[in-house]
Structure formats: structure tokens, C-alpha cells
């Protein structure tokens, strides 16, 4: 088995297939903790985790907080408005102060690509990337892969379609890097402005016709489409987007019955995904949320707790 020697998780691009598999296997061992009546193990007792979210987030922050609590870590949440970044302090200085408080782990959400790596290279404590701009969101990528692997028992050879605003999506990047390392075939689908053909240099296939990929897909992972005001030069409007790329009921019927429908949330019902389809039998959207806890427990444990699976 691959052993984990990293203090940080800044992205899936830098991990080996063995390291990714190690985190997935560790997550599987932790998943059971959440199903017990006493949802707690002492793996990180005495450790202090700081949820440092410079960009707003509810879902990811809460997931990390729950994961840390289940590992018996102490958790502090700070946000951009409450931090000294508002007073002009640099990110590095703020993080050095947290280190001086003997925090053990910083979970960082930040709008700048590379911000987690920037801190990881300069601090001794563990940095967990909870999303750095359009770069990576490695725990989201891991929980997506974990969910797929749980359903299919493997990743290798699966046809995974990721649909939507790929250009600006850190979720897409972490999925691409992780899935390719584990041998999946990845197809990116969306308008040519948000899914330029040059993405194929990363080893994926690019398609601008969702109807052509539905039948062969084992997984359709739908990304949230930003409101048209924020992307007005990229596509003409939500109506046109839905007609060309939305997972409507008609399109969902063309899917293989075993195909999983995934979404990192928050979903826009009636935009990238039809409301009934989001709630349908093929949707694993809420299982992704549940699996997120186990994956984050595994990441925190691997980076700050030690090697090996919990007893």
C-alpha cells in the first residue's frame, strides 16, 4: 500500500494514483463513523484546525467542520471579514499568526489560484485546500471520485462526462486530474467559450454536443452555471444554455440506466439540471455530500494525524 508522507493537500494534480487511492481507502474506513450513534473517533484529539475561508462558503466549511469534530479536533472558523486581511495584513502574515497560535491545520478557501500552495511552501503546519480560485478543489474531486468508485467498484475505463463552466471551475480541474490518474476517460461538455478545445492538451476529450455523449456516459457530473450577468460575454443567456446543454428530462431518458448523475452543488434547479432529474433515482447528489465528510476526515487524518488506517 502507498504510504502518505505529505503534510498538505493542495491539489490532485500533484498526487500519484497510489496517493489518491490511499485517501479513498482511508475515507472508506472512516465512512462508518458517521453511521454510528457515537459519531466520533479520537484520531485528531488535541489538534487545532482553523477553517480559514477568505471566500464565502457554507457547504464546504461545514463539511470540514463536521469532519474535524468527528476526529475530535478543536475547530476555529474565521472568515475574510473577521480576519486582519481586511486591515491590510497579508495572507502569509495572517497564516504565520495562526501558526504562532499553534494551530495544526489550516483549511483554506481563497479566490487566488495557488494560494494554498503558497502557504504550504512557507508554513510548517498543514494546509488543506478547500478551493483556490479556478485552480483546484481537491476534497470535492476526491469525494466525487469516492462516490463513483463506491458505485462502480472501480474508476478505470469509466466514461465520465463533466458538463458546464469548466474554464472557471476548480471542481472540474480536480476531477480531471484525479480521474485521469485513476484511468477514467473524461469528456468535458459545454459551450466553446467555457470549454475551449485546448483543454484536450490535459488528456481529456472536449465536446460541444451533450446529446452525443449521453448514451455512453457512466457518470454525468453537472457543474453549476453562474448567473448570466457574470458570464455575459461567454454565452448569450440561461435559456439558450438550457436548450443546448441542460440535463432536461428528455435528455435524462437517453442516459444509460446505470449512469450516475452528480453535482457539486449548489444546484440551480431548471438550469443545468431539471428539478425532477436532480431528485431522481440516478442522482447521487446528496450521497456526495455525505461522502464529503468521510473524504475530509481521511484527508485531515492523513495530513495531520499519521499514516495507516484507523483501527
Amino acid at each position: 500500500m502507498s504510504t502518505w508522507t505529505r503534510k498538505d493537500l493542495t491539489g490532485l494534480d500533484e498526487l500519484s494514483a497510489g496517493e489518491i487511492t490511499f485517501l479513498l481507502d482511508t475515507a472508506r474506513a472512516f465512512k462508518g463513523v458517521g453511521e454510528r450513534s457515537l459519531k466520533k473517533v479520537p484520531a485528531l484529539r488535541g489538534k487545532t484546525l482553523v477553517n480559514f475561508f477568505v471566500e464565502p462558503s457554507t457547504r464546504t466549511r461545514t463539511s470540514f467542520e463536521v469532519a474535524a469534530m468527528r476526529l475530535s479536533a478543536d475547530v476555529v472558523n474565521i472568515s475574510a471579514t473577521a480576519s486582519s486581511l481586511q486591515k491590510g495584513e497579508t495572507l502569509k502574515d495572517t497564516a504565520l499568526n495562526l501558526q504562532a497560535l499553534h494551530a495544526d491545520i489550516i483549511v483554506l478557501r481563497h479566490s487566488s489560484p495557488g494560494s494554498s500552495k503558497f502557504l504550504a511552501d512557507r508554513l510548517e503546519l498543514s494546509i488543506i485546500n478547500a478551493g483556490d480560485g479556478a485552480h483546484e478543489h481537491p476534497t470535492q474531486g476526491l469525494l466525487d471520485i469516492f462516490t463513483i468508485r463506491e458505485k462502480f467498484g472501480k474508476i478505470e475505463g469509466l466514461n465520465i462526462a463533466i458538463v458546464g463552466d469548466i474554464l472557471f471551475s476548480r471542481v472540474a480541474r480536480s476531477n480531471i486530474f484525479g480521474l485521469l490518474k485513476l484511468g477514467a476517460k473524461v469528456t468535458l461538455v459545454g459551450p466553446s467559450t467555457l470549454v475551449p478545445k485546448s483543454f484536450e492538451k490535459l488528456g481529456v476529450r472536449v465536446s460541444h454536443r451533450i446529446d452525443e455523449i449521453l448514451a455512453e456516459a457512466d457518470v454525468v457530473n453537472l457543474l453549476r452555471i453562474q448567473h448570466e450577468r457574470q458570464r455575459k460575454e461567454y454565452f448569450p443567456g440561461l435559456g439558450e444554455y438550457i436548450s443546448i446543454f441542460g440535463l432536461t428530462k428528455a435528455r435524462a431518458e437517453k442516459l444509460n440506466p446505470s449512469c450516475l448523475i452528480m453535482h457539486p452543488g449548489p444546484i440551480n434547479r431548471g438550469v443545468e439540471i431539471d428539478s425532477d432529474v436532480a431528485d431522481g433515482a440516478q442522482s447521487v447528489i446528496l450521497e456526495q455530500v455525505t461522502n464529503g465528510i468521510a473524504v475530509r476526515m481521511a484527508v485531515l487524518y492523513a495530513c495531520a494525524g499519521g499514516a495507516g488506517l484507523p483501527a
Binding site: T90, S112, K117, S198, K201, L202
Partner: protein, 462 residues
């Protein structure tokens, strides 16, 4: 002709400190006379003299006295410099340097930048006007020239802003700037987006014989781009800065230079497409020119994989294909100037998230070595005389400077170069106030070993 400003690095002593008449008109007998009265005459011996302005490349001796190159005077020298195995070059000229004064002396000063320039082999630098305040008035030019006269150890030439406050809207007062001594106009760091403003700027500058130098960046295409738009920007999730963002403005400048029959110089060309545009335009006689910085042929966008802000500059590092195109452009005469775009920033300013960090790196102390190593030594795209021309006769011709030559009577600005010296760059030994460079620990072949400005040694390799 504008006079540069500098002070002497070493205080001069003795009678040679006195004013003397122009030496190229002086008879040999008179000179002998002076030497008999202890005038210092220096003879550089056994060097390979490369003087592209005079199409000269030979092993010979070079004499200078009282700050000027003089005719051969065997036996008259009072000082000898052994240049065996060295190249004796006209003092190098860097036409693209950010001195950071006035207003940003925490990044660099005229004193520290010119010391770094001397250590890189440069006897003349051309200062960019994006200071604080911007150099858009005679008063600011006068301030820079006064500070340079007191603190600079190489020649400092000034440029004026094209537009007031570098805002791209209203023309700066070129008449006053010319009288104050600027050698060119540029809004470097900014680019005039309004084509009518650019057209009138070039048209008005023509009256004064001024070259307009342009930082070529289409703001709408580049947006908040911070790195080359390509595989690496997709991988890293960083906003892309597409080639077309440069090419659009290069094309604009070609059309305006052609329409007005007036020169426009395109600064820090980074894109292979720009090279093609400039090549085609020059072939039909358009007065368009371009310059290249060392990082654009030494590094690619892959350098940003580490999110190190020392790989972030504007325009950005591009791809191997662009490097090949730039080198072809240098080799075939499309691109006629080499320069650094020396852009010092304090460590704390660069030590931030990549998209918050300022653009730019230092370059004065290693540009010659990088260009020599890549263009002459490794890729053999040009020979050493051409490399020296790109740093001497070419920039002097573009900006009409009375420098860049070893002609008798010219200022004794001389750079001694050891083209076979292998060395490793240590940023901690830099003379610049800032060490923002991606080249720490890089090894190259060739470097300047002694820099002589108006007959005085401004720097030598210890």
C-alpha cells in the same frame, strides 16, 4: 542630442578632472604634450575589439584619454588594461529599465539600479517614465536628471510619458519634455487603447523627431490575464493573457507607423505572431521595430506551475514555439534591440498570492549572459558581433544616442566581456535593491568583467 546624466563612481583626481577640448580634433603632438604633463592615457591591450558601428572585429589595442576614445598612441599610455582573451565592446545600452525613482525608492534607486547596470556591462540605461509621479513633465525629467547626475554611475537617459499620467487620454507636453532632455516617449506599463490618441501622439512626436515606444497590450482581450493563455493557464486555473492581446496592438502600431511614415518601437515582444507582423511590415519599409527581453527566450509559461510570482511578468512568458520565433526574429534582423525590462519589486510585494503580485523581474545583471548563452553559445542563432550590435549600435541608432561605438572621439564607454566565462547567478550577490528574479542559481556562459564609463571604471569583476 540629449546629454545623459551620471556622476563618477570614483572621485576623479589630478589634472584630468579639468575640462578639455574635444579630442578628435587634437593633434597627436598636442596629445603627447598633454601626456608629458601627466594626462592619463589608458591602453587596453590584446583584446578582440568588436565595434559593430564601424564594422570592426579584430584583435588590437584601444586607447582612451579624458573620457574619450583616442587614436592609437603607441608608447604614450600611462595605464594599461590587459584584455587578453576578452572582447572589447562599446559600452552596452539597455533601452528599457525601470529605475523606480522618483517615488518608489523602496524597490530601487537610480544609484542602486545603475550599479546593477554597471555590473551587467551597461554604460547607459534608458529610464521608463512610470515613476511616481509619472515622468510626464519637464519638472520630473529635471528631477531624474539631477538625481542621476549626483548618484548614477552609468549614463542615464530619460523618456517622457506619451500621455499625461500614463492615462492614455491627453498628450504630454513633448516640446517641454524634449527641452528637458528626453530621448523617446513611452507609456510603458500602460498601453494607449484609443487609436486616435495614439495616432496623434505619433504624429505630434514626429515634429520633434522622437520615437514613440509602445507597451503592446489590448486591455479588452487581456482583461485580468496574468499568464500566457494556453495549456498551463488551463491547468493552473489562472486567467490567460493571449498572444492576440499583444499582436492586436503591434498590428495597430504597424498601421499607424505606415500611415504616418513615422517610427514606432514595440517594447518587450513576447509572441511569435508579433514577430511575423513586424517582419512583414519591415519588409515593405514600415518604420516599425521591436525589442526582446531575456526571460522571453529563456523561460516558458511552465515556470508558473509552482505559482512563483518571480515568473510573473507583463507580457507573460509564453511557449517554446514563441521562443523559436523570437530567436528567428533576432537572427533575421526583424527584432533589432535586446533589453531587460528591469522591473525591481520589493520582496514583500512579490511574496503574496500570484494574482495580487506585481508584474516584473530584475534583469540588468544577467541579461547579457542569458542572451549570449542562448543566442550565441547554445543555439548559435547569431554571432558575437551581432549580439553586441543589438546592445550598442542598434539602440544608439534608434534613439539617436552618441553612444554605442568605439569611434575616435566618442565617449570612452567600454565594456570588457569574457565570452567563455562560465558562472552561476546568485541573486543574493545582486547590486539591485530588489531580488525578484526567477534566475537564481542559473548557470550561463559569458559575462561582462569590466565596465568603463567615460573613461572611468564603474565596475569590475573582483
Amino acid at each position: 542630442m540629449s546629454e545623459p546624466d551620471r556622476c563618477d563612481c570614483k572621485s576623479r583626481t589630478g589634472p584630468d578632472n579639468q575640462a578639455s577640448p574635444c579630442l578628435d580634433l587634437i593633434s597627436i603632438a598636442f596629445l603627447r604634450d598633454l601626456s608629458g604633463q601627466s594626462m592619463k592615457i589608458t591602453r587596453i591591450t590584446n583584446g578582440r575589439i568588436i565595434d559593430p558601428a564601424n564594422k570592426r572585429d579584430e584583435v588590437a589595442d584601444l586607447w582612451f584619454a579624458d573620457g574619450k576614445i583616442i587614436a592609437h598612441q603607441p608608447g604614450s599610455e600611462t595605464e594599461t588594461i590587459d584584455a587578453s582573451n576578452l572582447v572589447v565592446s562599446p559600452g552596452l545600452i539597455d533601452i528599457h529599465v525601470h529605475l523606480r525613482e522618483p517615488g518608489q525608492s523602496h524597490k530601487e534607486t537610480i544609484a542602486s539600479a545603475t550599479r546593477a547596470a554597471a555590473a551587467g556591462g551597461f554604460t547607459s540605461v534608458v529610464a521608463m517614465p512610470n515613476t511616481s509621479p509619472a515622468a510626464d513633465s519637464a519638472a520630473t525629467i529635471a528631477w531624474i536628471k539631477d538625481k542621476a547626475a549626483r548618484t548614477a554611475c552609468v549614463n542615464v537617459f530619460t523618456t517622457g510619458a506619451i500621455t499625461k499620467g500614463l492615462k492614455g487620454e491627453e498628450l504630454a507636453p513633448y516640446g517641454a519634455l524634449v527641452n528637458a532632455g528626453v530621448v523617446a516617449l513611452t507609456d510603458d506599463g500602460h498601453c494607449i487603447q484609443n487609436h486616435e490618441v495614439m495616432r496623434r501622439a505619433v504624429e505630434y512626436a514626429k515634429m520633434f523627431g522622437l520615437v514613440v515606444m509602445d507597451h503592446c497590450q489590448d486591455y479588452s482581450l487581456v482583461g485580468d490575464g496574468i499568464m500566457h493563455e494556453g495549456e498551463w493557464s488551463l491547468r493552473l486555473g489562472l486567467p490567460g493573457w493571449p498572444r492576440a492581446g499583444e499582436e492586436m496592438i503591434v498590428a495597430r502600431n504597424i498601421l499607424l507607423a505606415e500611415h504616418l511614415d513615422s517610427p514606432i518601437h514595440c517594447q518587450h515582444i513576447s509572441s511569435g505572431g508579433s514577430v511575423r507582423l513586424i517582419r512583414d511590415a519591415r519588409a515593405r519599409g514600415v518604420k516599425i521595430s521591436g525589442e526582446v527581453c531575456p526571460h522571453h527566450i529563456a523561460l516558458t509559461d511552465a515556470g508558473l506551475a509552482s505559482f512563483d510570482s518571480n515568473f510573473k511578468m507583463n507580457p507573460p512568458l509564453r511557449t517554446e514555439a514563441d521562443i523559436v520565433a523570437l530567436i528567428e526574429g533576432i537572427a533575421d534582423g526583424t527584432l533589432t534591440i535586446l533589453c531587460s525590462d528591469h522591473a525591481p519589486h520589493a520582496a514583500y510585494e512579490k511574496e503574496v498570492e500570484i494574482d495580487h503580485a506585481p508584474f516584473g523581474i530584475t534583469g540588468l545583471e544577467n541579461e547579457l549572459a542569458i542572451f549570449h548563452d542562448i543566442l550565441v553559445h547554445k543555439r548559435k542563432a547569431i554571432d558575437l558581433p551581432r549580439l553586441i550590435a543589438l546592445y550598442t549600435s542598434e539602440p544608439a541608432a534608434l534613439l539617436k544616442l552618441d553612444r554605442g561605438t568605439l569611434s575616435t572621439g566618442a565617449p570612452a564607454d567600454i565594456t570588457l566581456i569574457d565570452p567563455s566565462l562560465d558562472w552561476t547567478f546568485d541573486k543574493n550577490a545582486s547590486l539591485s535593491l530588489s531580488q525578484n528574479t526567477p534566475f537564481h542559481g542559473h548557470a550561463w556562459r559569458g559575462r561582462a568583467v569590466r565596465t568603463i564609463v567615460s573613461g572611468e571604471t564603474a565596475w569590475s569583476l573582483s
